[in-house]
Amino acid sequence: MNPTATALRAGWSRGLIELRQSLTNAGDLFNHFFWPVLMLATLFFMRDVSFGQSGFLLGTLVLPSILGMNAAMSMVTMSQLLTADREDGTLLRAKATPNGMLTYLVGKILSVSGGLVVDLAIFLVPALFIISGLTVGTAGSWLTLVWVLALGLVATLPIGAVLGSLFPSARSQGLLTLPIIGMIAISGIFYPITSMPEWLQGIAQVFPIYWLGLGMRSALLPDNMVGVEIGESWRHLETVGVLGSWAVVGVLVAPVVLRRMARRESGSSVVERREKALQRVR
């Protein structure tokens, strides 16, 4: 067997092991349930609110948007896991193993994607009992959902890996939270984007969150609800264009940044970071 095939196979089994671990451990399980449950509660209180004069129910609009937002959040998950793995030496271990970095990355992509699918299901299945008016009965809806999700992951996971390589410690990851919350606020997740000022709409359309939300709405909402969207269109071409651009940038930049970060890793740098972390505790 050639080295790449060996690494891909090892990465695949690594991903499955990590996924199983994250679904059988109390701390991780809490994380898997926390956001979906919070979002379900939000949906529950929104279920009868209608949006402006359109007569559309806000809850119906918001459910697919939340799916898109969660998918985009896998970028943050990726970033956090990478920083944590750098701090505890997991990445150094990968570096000490032949083709270990490739194995590690394949595993991480698989486990984060798998974890996301679980999170989405935890949210979606109960949500369908709260919210009505979604086109969940047709195969076309699910097909759209799958390609939007897949494209979204290819767009966001490499960027997450880049962020994770740039942050010096797990603590500094907190800096990410604020801009992300801002991004969610302007991306038309909890309220249609067309009610925002146009310059804000412009900013939102640069980032993947908006497009993932739009893509999910295009999958699960009936066609007449396109009226609240920009240009009264689901804009699939633009969705592919923007998410595709992020994907290309990520796939090109991530290996370079990851390699640079990995090159700096050594036993003493792991020890140094641990000592720093301990000092902060004291």
Partner: protein, 286 residues
């Protein structure tokens, strides 16, 4: 493969951080099958040296060949032949012992015949902990796992950096037995003289970025400085003399004072004395 049996060749290795030289002109070789200890006080440059050899750190100058390859440019195939045990690992805490060894072993499948996970778990004495989460292992157990990870791909050369730091005597003894059972070339760093003496075929003493001695434990004790301590009593007074020629000195002592010499004691220079005097000398001349 090189035609010689040299597994490791270091020639004129230098390492400089800013204007501070950490390693000056370090030169040594390790032959196939040897267990060599790099012994020295804290801050001597042991970890820097071993990290350069592992390919984790760039050197400032000098020639380094590990298994015939410059570790700064070691490909994955080279990586597969080198085992690494760092000073402190705490990765993969959620994984189980056997699970991690099976997984890491599978990464070597295209290069070598990796250890079977169960056999390896048994070889390092972790059978009863095979299904435990790694985060729950004790320090000594964790270290055994680290060695297992280091050898899972059957490396031709194993690096051990301060393998028993923080061990209790029992764990240390068990660990020494484990390392002595390995059938591979080993370079280990330690600041523990006893450990170097017990494990290594050859000891290199590194002090302040220089190799100040290189040889077997006996050679070191014999060859370098090694002043024996001669103690005696004469007319009720206690005398002590340090000398490299203790037998000769005692002979002359008796010639001069005859039977008035009592309670003669000669303590031969131990490896520890040699080590301390070497490190001390190097510090004085530096």
């Amino acid at each position: 493969m090189t035609t010689t049996s040299e597994v490791l060749e270091v020639d004129g290795l230098r390492m400089r951080y800013g204007s501070n030289d950490v390693l000056h002109d370090v030169t040594f070789q390790v032959r196939q099958g040897e267990v060599v200890a790099l012994l020295g006080p804290n801050g001597a440059g042991k970890t820097t040296t071993i990290e350069i050899l592992e390919g984790f750190r760039m050197r400032s100058a000098g020639r380094v060949e590990v298994l015939g390859v410059d570790p700064a440019h070691g490909a994955e195939q080279w990586r597969a032949k080198v085992g690494v045990v760092l000073q402190s690992w705490r990765d993969h805490g959620k994984w189980r012992v056997r699970e991690l060894l099976a997984h890491l072993g599978s990464c070597y499948a295209c290069y070598s015949e990796p250890w079977d996970a169960d056999e390896l778990v048994a070889a390092v004495g972790l059978t009863e902990h095979a299904d435990k989460k790694i985060a729950t292992l004790s320090g000594g157990q964790r270290r055994r796992l680290d060695v297992a990870v280091g050898i899972v791909g059957r490396p031709e050369l194993l690096f051990l950096d301060e393998p028993t730091a923080g061990f209790d005597p029992e764990a240390r003894r068990e660990f020494h037995d484990l390392v002595q059972g390995l059938e591979t070339t080993v370079l280990l760093t330690t600041h523990d003289l006893y450990e170097a003496d017990k494990l290594a075929d050859r000891i290199m003493i590194l002090n302040d970025g220089r190799i100040v001695a290189d040889g077997t434990a006996e050679e070191l004790a014999k060859r370098i400085v090694g002043e024996d301590e001669v103690r005696w009593k004469r007319d009720g007074r206690q005398f002590t003399q340090l000398t490299t020629e203790s037998t000769q000195f005692a002979f002359e002592l008796f010639q001069r004072y005859g039977q008035s010499i009592v309670e003669l004691e000669i303590r031969r220079a131990s490896l520890e004395d040699t080590y301390l005097s070497l490190v001390h000398q190097a510090e004085v001349t530096a």
